[in-house]
Symmetry: C2
Subunit: 288 residues, 2 copies
């Protein structure tokens, strides 16, 4: 059985964003590579701990560390990675180290906020967006701001790249949440429906609960409350489609992608810039 | 119900060691206070995660975060503290930040090593000492080295304080493990016998399994294997006493205290120095 932190390799989006933001803002340096590794390590620490929190059994198509070696090892391995992040920050520009620290803290804040909202049927879209802006987009935003800063970009360009990262991260998480509802396990490497199992309300459900009639709402709440099988899941998807909630969520993801691309207008046109545009389109295009 | 990370306040030994080491080596600075907070935060992150790992229900006489708010919140709150540690390291002397990072990593390494040895009846004393030198003494050692370094001490003095911290930390953990066997919950704030429940072999048991006759050994292994009640625990303590294993462990703790005090010989005599000597004696005297 193959088991390692990154056995399935993953998409390496966060380190990619550090490097691409560097290229788009004047060129990569040695420190870009160091910062790229830091952001991927923070992400892997998050994944290790998320899998403990969510009792995840598989990720990227392979068994999780917690499922094979237990929660203890997964928690401690995540902590070890964070210790290594502290070490790798030594010698980096103070402003960059500050961004890295804030990215780590905002990620935790977003996750804690999500936990506090679990099972809240009246969660609204703006609160959901703020949650994912923390738990997912904080690392995207930090990665892009770091890449720009290390390339010597001015404050306005750093802010533009941060806005690009934040929008891309939000689009990424909306898409990830959609994949959890309508994706196929073969493609995502994760079991589908796990958000439902953990009473996490994501955008399609938030939209549905706001727009559906009372009878449909009650029906869907019943399905959400009583962990159910494939038949109920299909019924849930039909209900969501009847209110165009899936379509609405796809559109919102695309709007954030456009917001990300618009933020890049402040940056001089370059190959790095073009690849950032493609990256933003890719994150929301994963589900076709 | 009172529940907070440090509701029971705790002994504040690690931040105390940063400050006292500073006083002993030339005087405290603003950065000593910052570093003291960093070491206490790292320790609290460890406690939060330890309680998830060990399914701890109470600590310092109050319910643990995981028992009240769930494992997720406890894991994430620990991660948040580590993020704040990264932030607080910004601007500190590079060598100090490096010590802080290494302390965090060595703590995790020690804990991971302990997990890998769980249920190993032939764990020997040197391996046990190496485990606790990581999981507990790394923060003591780092706190003392940091205090000395921030006071402008030379390399040999920094090393002397590090040795003091390492020995004190080892004595502290041996005593803590003894309290888990022979302590009273009212005094320690933690349930007794939790190491036994988690198949952690500590010094009294290591000594017993090395020195006892085959029949006694088999009897104790049976008690350890089948999680048992008060009667079996009393029988276990009698067996350990019959081989003087508790007495042996107390003696070893005191030897490490003497090692700590001896390391201070390299440091000029001062009030700070005297308090460090008292601190080392205190950690092994908690059980009397």
């Amino acid at each position: 059985m193959v088991v390692c932190v990154n056995a399935g390799q993953g998409k390496m989006i966060r380190p990619g964003l550090v490097l691409l933001s560097g290229v788009a803002c004047g060129g990569m340096t040695e420190n870009h590579i160091k910062a790229a590794a830091i952001f991927e390590m923070m992400h892997n620490a998050t994944l290790l701990h998320d899998d403990v929190v969510d009792e995840g059994k598989s990720r990227r198509g392979v068994p999780t560390i917690n499922s094979v070696h237990g929660n203890e090892s997964a928690v401690l391995l995540g902590d070890f990675l964070l210790g290594r992040v502290i070490q790798m920050c030594v010698g980096l520009d103070k402003r960059v180290a500050e961004i890295i620290a804030l990215s780590a803290m905002r990620t935790c804040e977003g996750e804690l906020r999500q936990i506090s909202q679990r099972g809240n049927w009246s969660l609204d879209e703006s609160e959901y967006i703020e949650i994912i802006a923390g738990k997912t987009a904080a690392l995207f935003e930090g990665a892009c701001a770091t890449g720009a800063m290390l390339a010597g970009a001015g404050e306005s360009t750093v802010q533009a790249l941060a806005a690009y990262g934040r929008n891309t991260g939000i689009a990424f998480q909306i898409t990830d949440d959609l994949l959890d509802l309508v994706g196929e396990q073969d493609k995502t490497g994760k079991p589908v429906g796990s958000d439902l199992d953990h009473n996490k309300l994501t955008l399609p459900l938030i939209h549905f609960l706001k727009t559906a009639g009372e009878t449909d709402k009650q029906k869907v709440k019943q399905i959400l409350l009583h962990k159910t099988g494939d038949a109920e899941r299909m019924e849930l998807l039909e209900k969501l489609n009847s209110c165009k909630s899936i379509e609405y969520s796809r559109r919102r993801a695309k709007e954030f992608v456009e917001g990300a691309i618009a933020a890049l207008a402040a940056v001089a046109d370059s190959d790095g810039n073009k690849t950032l545009v493609e990256t933003a389109r890719f994150v929301a295009g994963r589900m076709v």
